[in-house]
């Protein structure tokens, strides 16, 4: 970790992390219902953005994560209704189904890359949407499903569930960055052929990461179903759920931990504030920020910070201008 080019070394991160966890633990007791709902939404997007970021690290930029969100929502909702399971068990069991579907999709998608991967995932998510809308007997169709509330509607417990998931994601990404796998993943992104020639299990890694990212997104979908107690195809297959993590990671800084978290927190808050001001069309903020960050800060906000700090450090050390290492150059 200490020598990783994208991390800041020293005790700083530990202090910040511990302070953040303590702060986030006492936070829900000081928020009213509305702000608590915001906090839960932010935490959901933090996990989703981190999952998407790790997926993108393998060169798989998905534009269809909502497929797994909706799948997770419907599978866990159906499990809890048909088998009378409690929400947590239903979500846990649904990960098996979502994981199987994700692994299967991933295996099918292996040869498709870049923009075609993006379009393919987008189309797949739409297929799930059409299926849930049309298979009325199984899913209730456009009328949707009413499901029991999670934790008997206790929002504080929901908050802690999401906080636990988000922390688990942060720790997992951190461990991944420290491990040897990280080199393999980075190599796959630059060139799968070269990575494969050097003995990186390309297909296994791609399928593995895709499945894990799909399962995490599916858990979030399941949580969403029980948290709002009502789902329909329009709400859980909303394209904006696919776009959100993409924008959050690009805006915050791709292939980092802080970037997606920062993106998720700022953009969710921006959007919620805007939603209270205008009736519809609050997503305009996503569009504008996406345009501006790609044109002006393609390495994202956190990438900019990292570049600035590494420049400062290296001028202090020996005056050598640092290489532009943050933004993965592509000819």
């Amino acid at each position: 970790m200490a020598n990783h080019p994208l991390s800041i070394s020293g005790a700083g991160p530990w202090i910040v992390s511990i302070a953040a966890v303590v702060g986030l633990t006492i936070l829900p007791f000081h928020l009213d219902g509305y702000l608590l709902h915001w906090a839960i939404t932010v935490l959901m997007y933090v996990s989703m953005a981190l999952a998407w970021d790790v997926l993108a690290r393998t060169g798989q930029s998905s534009f269809g994560q909502v497929g797994f969100f909706g799948l997770g929502a419907y599978v866990s909702a159906t499990l809890s209704i048909d088998f009378n399971l409690n929400p947590l068990t239903a979500i846990l069991l649904s990960t098996l189904g979502v994981g199987a579907v994700a692994a299967l999709c991933s295996a099918l998608f292996l040869r498709v890359r870049g923009i075609y991967f993006a379009i393919l995932t987008l189309a797949f998510a739409e297929v799930f949407k059409v299926l849930t809308t049309e298979l009325v007997d199984l899913t209730g169709g456009p009328m949707g499903l009413t499901v029991p509330a999670m934790f008997n509607g206790n929002a504080t417990e929901s908050y802690f569930f999401m906080l636990a998931l988000a922390i688990a994601c942060v720790i997992a990404v951190n461990l991944l960055q420290c491990s040897k796998l990280n080199f393999g993943i980075t190599a796959i992104r630059s060139s799968p052929e070269v990575a494969s020639a050097f003995g990186v299990p390309v297909n296994l890694l791609k399928i593995g990461v895709f499945t894990v990212a799909g399962v995490i997104t599916g858990i979030l979908g399941g949580f969403y179903a029980f948290y709002t107690s009502y789902i329909n195809p329009e709400s859980v297959f909303d394209t904006s759920i696919s776009v959100a993590p993409v924008i959050m990671c690009i805006f915050g800084g791709l292939y980092t931990i802080v970037g997606p978290i920062f993106g998720a927190v700022t953009l969710t808050i921006f959007q919620e504030v805007l939603r209270t001001m205008i009736e519809s069309g609050s997503l305009v903020i996503y569009g504008l920020l996406l345009i501006f960050s790609i044109i002006f800060v393609p390495e994202g906000v956190w990438g900019l910070v990292l570049r600035g700090s590494s420049k400062m450090r290296s001028t202090k050390a020996d005056g050598v201008k640092p290489a532009e290492q943050v933004h993965a150059a592509d000819p």
Binding site: I115, Y116, F117, L122, A123, L290, I291, I295, P298
Partner: protein, 291 residues
């Protein structure tokens, strides 16, 4: 039998619209190497322009095709200059995200200013229909189809018989060599983006009479255009036309003959796109696929 012919005619008419939209996506891919998600929103803007012109002055939406095309050309050129040009040398996924951002912005601006109402145009000749063999076809639908055909034909003629068309072909083959022989590549890019937007605008006027106009009307249309271009192959106008027919007809047949088929016909596009990409994962020939 009559039902079958009717479904076929409807499918062909829709295919004309699809081909017109896909043509814009095709030239952007061929000449700029860029996948433009915002293309559907250009169609949406064209449809709104035709709609507002009709409600304000009563001008026939299909006559509006030309002024709309000019307006959308300028709009597209501006989008290229300030949005697309800075990222032309960035990774493909960044370009995709940028055009997605433009698309999202235009959709939501439309939502803010014009709300999500479904708007439709009632032209005075809407009820007149023409007998073609054993089926009746609405005069309006026929006119819309003809406009799509004329627009594609005109563009093909420009590409093959004019100086600028030859320059377009040259740039699509080799940018460096084109620049060396004195073609202003950036100007060609600008013009191409403008033309693509103009074609989308014309498609928009067709949309305004064939279907409802609303802020998200472009979303399914642009996905259909991607499907067609992937199915048809890059640089192949004939392929695009055939793929449009495949999509238009299969949607029409599914919608007509499958019980409760209108919902399922939406899925046809996605099924085709998935099959096309799984069979030919590199997408269209000759397009870079890194990212």
């Amino acid at each position: 039998m009559e039902l079958f012919v009717q479904a076929t005619v409807n499918g062909v008419i829709t295919a004309g619209l699809y081909a017109l939209i896909a043509y814009g996506v095709l030239i952007l891919l061929g000449i700029l190497n860029i996948v433009n998600f915002a293309h559907g929103e250009f169609v949406m803007l064209g449809a709104y322009l035709a709609y507002w012109a009709f409600t304000a002055t009563g001008i026939d939406p299909l006559i509006m095709a030309l002024p709309v095309a000019i307006g959308m050309f300028l709009f597209g050129a501006a989008i290229y200059q300030f949005g697309v040009r800075p990222v032309l040398n960035e990774p493909a996924v960044n370009q995709l995200a940028l055009t997605y951002g433009i698309s999202l912005t235009l959709q939501n601006l439309a939502l803010i200013f014009w709300h999500s109402d479904l708007r439709s145009i009632n032209v005075p000749y809407a009820d007149i229909s023409v007998k073609l063999g054993i089926v009746n076809v609405g005069l309006m639908r026929l006119a819309a189809f003809l406009i799509a055909c004329v627009a594609i034909g005109a563009l093909q003629a420009v590409t093959y018989y004019t100086r600028i068309g030859k320059a377009l072909q040259a740039v699509s083959q080799n940018k460096t060599a084109s620049a060396l022989i004195g073609i202003n590549v950036n100007f060609i890019h600008l013009t191409t983006f403008g033309i693509a937007a103009a074609v989308a605008g014309i498609a928009g006027t067709v949309v305004s009479v064939l279907m409802y106009t609303y802020p998200f009307v472009g979303v399914p249309l642009v996905l259909k255009a991607f499907t067609i271009v992937i199915l048809g192959g890059l640089g192949s106008v004939l392929g695009t036309l055939l793929a449009s027919l495949v999509l238009g007809l299969s949607e029409s047949y599914v919608g007509t003959f499958v019980p409760d088929g209108s919902g399922w016909s939406e899925g046809v596009t996605f099924l085709l796109i998935i099959i096309a990409l799984l069979v030919r994962p590199q997408g269209m020939f000759g397009v870079r696929d890194h990212g």
